[in-house]
């Protein structure tokens, strides 16, 4: 009797192994995030891109958030071994781990965002033209400021933010080179209290437009603006004004979805190569969020200038490549 049960069990087990394989027809895409998906910024936009690809193309998705750098390699390996077709590392910091694992798993494709590192045949990068976001943050801030002092509050000084800062300074100078800009870093993308203190210190220094570039910590900057008078905030990455339309004039929204969608489509068509995908305003991956309560703060001429500049950047007439440091 026991022998019979054993034989049946072995047969059932073997059948179940085979059935796992037959369901693997959909593309599987995984994403590894350095931070939390609730940060209204860097990580949230990437998470939304992943959800977007799931709903648009019906791929199976998975993700890891708050990943610590010691785990990068093992997580890349895990997804590759589980048969994922595309593993995305969200941020240039993932490139070393990706390159290493890519050598062993040649069938898996790897994509690093915000970087220009590639490796034959299966590691590609894509980057948003952060200098473009920064440029328009600078232009709009320059139009808005009445005290002629603008400040930026960043989390950490990482390459995408460095590029954004360079674009920002170029944007401010383009409109009015007399405006004083102050760049600060709190050192953390989650320390809301510090970001609020920084914003308050800036407000005490007569800065009336603040560029919020600290992901989750931006909420602290917004609260500081709410407690003061006539302070205007411009956001980055996500649409900050959606929740706080009374202090956030606009945001430079960076839609990773366009980039991720493009890459997954290419994989589906078999066109994936190890190149650097450059995405910017031309592909509508960077947009200016609606002004909402501040509709009338900018004059008609100013809005037209902004529109013209957007067209020039889209067509390439204004080239911000020199501001991309890496």
């Amino acid at each position: 009797m026991r022998k019979l049960v054993l034989i049946v069990a072995v047969i059932l087990l073997s059948i179940s192994f085979f059935s796992i394989d037959t369901f693997a027809t959909d593309l599987k895409v995984a994403m590894i995030l350095p931070g939390p998906i609730s940060d209204h910024g860097w990580n949230m936009m990437a998470y939304e891109a992943l959800k977007n690809v799931e709903s648009e193309l019906g791929v199976e998705i998975a993700y890891n958030e708050n990943t610590s750098s010691s785990e990068y390699e093992s997580i890349f390996r895990g997804y590759s071994a589980a048969g994922y077709d595309l593993v995305i590392g969200h941020g240039f910091e993932f490139s070393n781990a990706a390159k290493k694992v890519a050598l062993q798993y040649q069938d898996t494709k790897f994509l690093i965002t915000s970087s220009n590192i590639t490796q034959k045949p299966n590691v590609a990068s894509f980057r948003l033209n952060d200098a473009q976001s920064g440029f328009f943050q600078g232009v709009i801030a320059a139009f808005l400021t009445e005290s002629n002092k603008i400040g930026t509050i960043g989390g950490q000084e990482i390459p995408p933010i460095i590029n954004q800062q360079k674009g920002f300074r170029a944007g401010v100078e383009y409109i009015d080179s007399d405006i004083k800009t102050t760049s600060t870093y709190t050192g953390s993308f989650t320390d809301v209290a510090k970001a609020k203190e920084m914003a308050q210190a800036m407000i005490e220094n007569n800065i009336d437009v603040i560029i919020a570039d600290a992901d989750e910590a931006n909420l602290g900057i917004i609260e500081a603006a709410k407690e003061a008078k006539d302070i205007m905030i411009i956001g980055s990455s996500g649409d900050l004004g959606k929740k706080s339309p009374n202090v956030v004039v606009t945001s430079l929204v960076e839609k990773f979805s366009k980039g991720v969608l493009k890459v997954v489509k290419e994989i589906q068509q078999g066109d994936f190569t190890n190149k650097v995908y450059e995405i910017g305003m031309k592909e509508d991956a960077i947009t200016i969020a609606p002004y909402r309560a501040f509709k009338d703060k900018l004059s008609k001429e100013e809005k037209e200038s902004i529109g013209e500049l957007v067209e020039k950047v889209k067509s390439g007439k204004i080239n911000l490549e020199k501001h991309l440091e890496y």
């Binding site: 939390p36 998906i37 609730s38 940060d39 209204h40 949230m44 400040g151 000084e157 004083k180 800009t181 102050t182 600060t184 870093y185 050192g187 953390s188 989650t190 320390d191 809301v192 209290a193 510090k194 609020k196 203190e197 920084m198 308050q200 210190a201 800036m202 005490e204 220094n205 800065i207 989750e216 910590a217 909420l219 602290g220 609260e223 929740k243």
Partner: protein, 313 residues
């Protein structure tokens, strides 16, 4: 720069210093009680985070910030109870258990925050602490504004410093606590219940840590944000050592650190060319300098960190 402007700057600066130091003062006071009885609670960071979340959530649900803070303190006392059970009764390693509390704190607050408020959190209006101006005294130039025009919990923190000093140094229970931390066997033989004392200090200390975390989410800010304690629990641990395990020392250490932090933020905001990394080092450098130059030898309670075992000879 007129005198008025300078006075304004100094006043704003010192007000900010005391305000930002308050969560650290409260947590560090809690730690002083625990450390004096021989318990090292690394889990203070996780406890503060839970306090921050509960204070914000309870304040919202009950529409009363003080009730919210009270409940935060009580929930953290319960977390303290769990910690006490593990390190005093089960005699688990205090450091490892503390780290576990930190992981628990971050995980549970993040999960609850997302499920109760949603990943895309739309922040509701949460009742928060308002400034309470004490009449007459707040009119004193500079110090009046700094010391007597703050939020209620800041006053409580300030009062708790001399109260804790008096309690630890001049009362019977305070003496028992100190003995348990220095020489638990001697305390045990003279009839002091070492376990009970440690349970008391851990629960009380965790209550204060909860208030400290709660001040972040209902005083300095009016909402909860994931991982918002951002290492302040560890600063409190350092403050206890720099403050030589005494309430007044801890106040000084917290204020010194807050001074450095407020200073570096203002230097950055004024548009300095100094790389921000050096400025961010400022509070830490200041505290190290103070420790090496002025503080002298720090006296750790002799039985710190070791579980008390009645059988050991």
């Amino acid at each position: 720069m007129t005198l008025e402007v300078i006075i304004d700057i100094i006043t704003n600066f010192m007000t900010a210093d005391l305000r930002t130091a308050t969560p650290i003062i409260l947590a560090a006071l809690g730690l002083v009680y625990m450390e004096r009885s021989g318990v090292v609670n690394i889990g203070i960071e996780g406890t503060m985070l839970i306090g921050a979340f509960i204070a914000s959530f309870a304040s919202w649900k009950l529409n009363n910030v003080w009730l919210g803070l009270l409940i935060a303190g009580l929930v953290c006392s319960f977390i303290g109870l769990i910690f006490a059970f593990l390190v005093v009764t089960v005699k688990a390693d205090q450091i490892v258990t503390g780290i576990a509390i930190n992981v628990l704190g971050l995980g549970i607050t993040t999960t609850l925050n997302r499920s109760l408020f949603g990943v895309d959190n739309s922040l509701p209006e949460i009742p928060s602490l308002k400034k309470i101006t004490i009449p007459i005294l707040s009119k004193i130039p500079i110090f009046g504004e700094v010391l007597f025009n703050q939020m209620g919990l800041v006053y409580i923190a300030m009062i708790l410093v001399p109260v804790s000093y008096y309690f630890l140094q001049k009362t019977n229970l305070g003496l028992k606590i100190r003995t348990v931390g220095e020489h638990p066997r001697a305390a045990d033989t003279s009839g002091v219940n070492v376990f009970k004392i440690r349970y008391i200090t851990i629960i009380l200390g965790s209550f204060l840590a909860g208030l400290g975390g709660g001040f972040l989410s209902t005083g300095i800010l009016s909402f909860f944000s994931e991982d918002m304690v951002a290492g302040r629990g560890f600063i409190a641990l350092a403050a206890v050592i720099f403050g030589k395990y005494s309430p007044w020392g801890v106040l000084g250490a917290a204020l010194l650190f807050g001074f450095g932090d407020a200073l570096q933020i203002r230097i950055q905001a004024a548009g300095s060319n100094i790389p921000y990394q050096f400025l961010m080092m400022l509070p830490y450098v200041l505290t190290i300098a103070a420790l090496s130059g002025f503080v002298g030898k720090s006296s750790t309670p002799a039985a710190s960190g070791e579980p008390y075992n009645k059988e050991n000879r």
